[in-house]
Amino acid sequence: MRAPRDNGFLKGDNMVPMNRNLLILFSTRIIRLFCYGFLSVVLALYLAQVGLPEQQIGLLFTLTLVGDAGISLRLTTSARSRGTLKRRRPPKPNPTDACWASIARATWSSDWVRHSPWTPSRVD
């Protein structure tokens, strides 16, 4: 058994030295969570301001997460069936889905909400 490596904060047998893959992995996580944090604070406030009642804000989050679970399911099953070597490939659908979500949201907030007869006047 190897001697535990001292990495400052993290001590343990299984800590590997920084390499390129680790750097990429960390960077993508940082970008992803940056975007998440960017939106998470203001999203519910924004939706409320746009005139959505609380029940629908909750429902929207639920539907988003159902989609998320669906994508995870698709990715996990495909990762398993394709084997370990190709496991890096499945994340491809993600950007597309995110694009669709953005397009849907953009059109929705500009047209559907703004021109709908139920929209309160504070939207402008």
């Binding site: 904060f9 993290l10 001590k11 343990g12 944090g37 939106l39 998470s40 604070v41 203001v42 999203l43 519910a44 406030l45 409320a48 009642p53 609380e54 029940q55 629908q56 804000i57 909750g58 429902l59 989050f61 639920t62 997460l65 159902v66 998320d68 679970a69 995870s72 399911l73 996990t76 099953t77 990762a79 398993r80 370990t84 496991r87």
Partner: protein, 190 residues
């Protein structure tokens, strides 16, 4: 094995879904009338604390074990969560929230590590997939419930109580079900 772990994880995620960050932000807005800038600052602090705590969790887990770390940090963190809506003023509510965040994420790295450690190596991919889907589905249902509570001013605090309560139930289930099952590296140490 994976399913036995997945069920409590789904419960935990369901509880977590009641108080997703966006909903806490919204809660602060309607309860105290503060704007997005201040809420952003609060979450900046909260998440920095959470990040530091996740690193400290590794040390704690080395000392007291993964399951103990998960349970003993998660229970107080959720007592704090229940206290948040009971706080009469904004500074107090923020303080409790920050305290909560400084221990609430310590179960995340330990949970992942535990899941990976107690399944056999060829099950890891499946274990990770099944538990994360169990969590996603659990978390998916609850925001609509939170929305329904938020719509009624008298029930504004209910998502916090419910989430905190359910998360403590999760800790009890986890402790009772898995305390005896040590990951290989801990069994080795004993």
């Amino acid at each position: 094995m994976v399913i036995r772990l997945g069920a409590p994880f789904a419960l935990d995620a369901f509880a977590g879904g009641l108080i997703v960050q966006a909903m806490i932000a919204y809660w602060f807005h309607i309860k105290f009338g503060i704007d997005a800038g201040i809420i952003g600052t609060i979450f900046f602090g909260a998440n920095i604390l959470a990040g530091i705590s996740a690193l400290l969790a590794v040390r704690l887990a080395n000392r007291i074990g993964l399951i103990n770390t998960m349970v003993f940090t998660h229970v107080p963190s959720n007592v704090l969560l229940i206290l948040v809506p009971l706080m009469p003023t904004l500074p107090l509510a923020v303080t409790v929230l920050l305290l909560r965040f400084s221990i609430s994420q310590m179960d995340v790295p330990t949970r992942q590590s535990y899941t990976m450690a107690v399944v056999s190596p060829d099950e890891r991919s499946a274990a990770s997939g099944v538990t994360s889907i169990a969590r996603s589905l659990g978390a998916a249902i609850s925001p609509s419930l939170a929305g329904i509570f938020f719509a009624v001013p008298a029930l504004l605090g209910v998502p916090f109580f419910l989430a905190g309560g359910l998360k403590i139930v999760y800790d009890v289930l986890l402790y009772r079900g898995f305390r005896a099952m040590k990951p290989p590296e801990e069994a080795f140490r004993d």
